[in-house]
Amino acid sequence: MPPPDPPRANRPLSAVPDPAATPEELLRLTALGREDAFERLYDSFSARVFGLARRIVRDPSHAEEIAQEVFLEIWRRASRFDPAKGSATSWIMTLTHARAVDRVRSAQAATDREVKVAQSSTERDVDSVVEAVESAFERRAVQRCLGTLTELQRESITLAYFSGYTYREVAELLTAPLPTIKTRLRDGLIRLRDCLGVAS
């Protein structure tokens, strides 16, 4: 006669998460071991995680490895997510960015990362992307707001974020003084933040 343990595997309350559940809620459920919530999280973030990793490391198979690591880490560390410290989106994308940048900065991958490619890749987004209407809106909003930046602000931010360059490398590439780039990164982000309506 087994002891009356709570039946974890097939608990009666394991209904499908509310379709309107926020990423934060899905992370909370994931921390409880709910694979269905994790799947939902995967479905809403896989394009962004894979896409960002691919943009940074360029090689699709490397991007896949990074995405796999990121999602595995989300699964493992879901209980450590603290919504008081920022959104789930920020948590997941920061992790993705760090992993991908880690990869390019440690590997001698500089060879195939050409600035030209990084700068001209905005066009490619349009046809290679996701279906979800919601993310299309989000993408359009971000692209519109990127369009409100000065060229130097936009180039500085995209080189730093999508190519994983340090601001010194960005300054070198754009032949601009170091303090200028630091300033453009900051005032560019201020403009982006206000344009996107992010609470500050």
Binding site: Q68, T96, V142, R186
Partner: protein, 266 residues
């Protein structure tokens, strides 16, 4: 007098664009600068949204391999004690940062990716942050360790570079085969439930006609109509996997008909 410069660092900091030698001073400054902290928090949320323009659907195989890996990966327990984390039952705080939050609030996991010697001492001195970092360091060590030590066959198949994904003819489930691991992960979904005295049995089929089908596993969950994922070693010459319905306990040889079959390779 470095303060004016330090105020400017928030942008580069949020974009992870500070070189290592400037990182610690910038993070230390943020700890003592309320307005920088608020600004950095807003920047981090802004930067997270930039990824939307790079969004690109990953190959469908990634979903399977992530879920297969998750199925065999334990989760870390929450940080307990004085850490100001919200309890699972608490209402969620929402997507906005709290300005009074005492740390500069990069996700602890990302902070932990950095070597310990690059972390600013001031941050370690902050009791709250120290708890978070402590958890993070342990976690990352375990995570890295897991990749370095011998992998389980499941992990190997889930991450192998040479893995291929096949879908059986009836469209239910999936077969992920990695020759370098000498193993296959079979994901069975959509099989009808069997009676109590019956079970599904998984077989490996060889391309050599004289080699009999080899029993790989019983699939009791699949027999109940549920999803079941198993990873089993393969042997040379095996090219297909198949499932038959058998008496509970299995059979030494498959009993026709084959209810499900898939190739290991394209």
């Amino acid at each position: 007098m470095t303060t004016p410069d330090a105020h400017l660092d928030t942008g580069a900091l949020a974009l992870s664009a500070l070189p290592p030698d400037e990182l610690a001073p910038a993070e230390e400054h943020v700890l003592t600068c309320e307005s920088c902290r608020v600004e950095l928090a807003g920047f981090r949320e802004t930067v997270a949204r930039l990824a939307a323009v790079a969004a690109e659907s990953p190959p469908a195989s990634l979903r399977r391999s992530v879920l297969a890996a998750v199925a065999v990966t334990p989760q870390l327990p929450p940080v307990t004690g004085s850490a100001p984390t919200s309890e699972p039952g608490d209402p969620l705080v929402g997507r906005h940062r709290m300005p009074e939050e005492p740390t500069p609030a990069p996700p602890d996991n990302v902070r932990a990716l950095r070597p310990w010697y690059r972390r600013p001492a001031a941050l370690i001195a902050a009791a709250v942050a120290a708890v978070v970092i402590g958890g993070g360091v342990v976690a990352i060590t375990q995570f890295r360790g897991q990749q370095q030590v011998a992998q389980t066959p499941e992990q190997c198949v889930a991450t192998a570079a040479d893995r291929t994904v096949q879908t059986p003819a009836d469209g239910h489930g999936e077969v992920v085969y990695a020759p370098s691991c000498g193993a296959v992960t079979v994901d069975v979904t959509g099989l009808p439930a069997l009676g109590d005295d019956r079970t599904y049995q998984l077989w490996a089929l060889s391309d050599r006609p004289q080699t009999a089908p080899r029993s790989m596993a019983l699939l009791p969950q699949a027999a109940q109509g549920q999803q079941q994922v198993v990873t089993e070693p393969t042997q040379s010459g095996e090219v297909q996997v198949a499932i038959t319905a058998e008496p509970s306990g299995g059979s030494p040889a498959p009993t026709p008909p084959i209810v499900w079959m898939a190739s290991l390779t394209p």
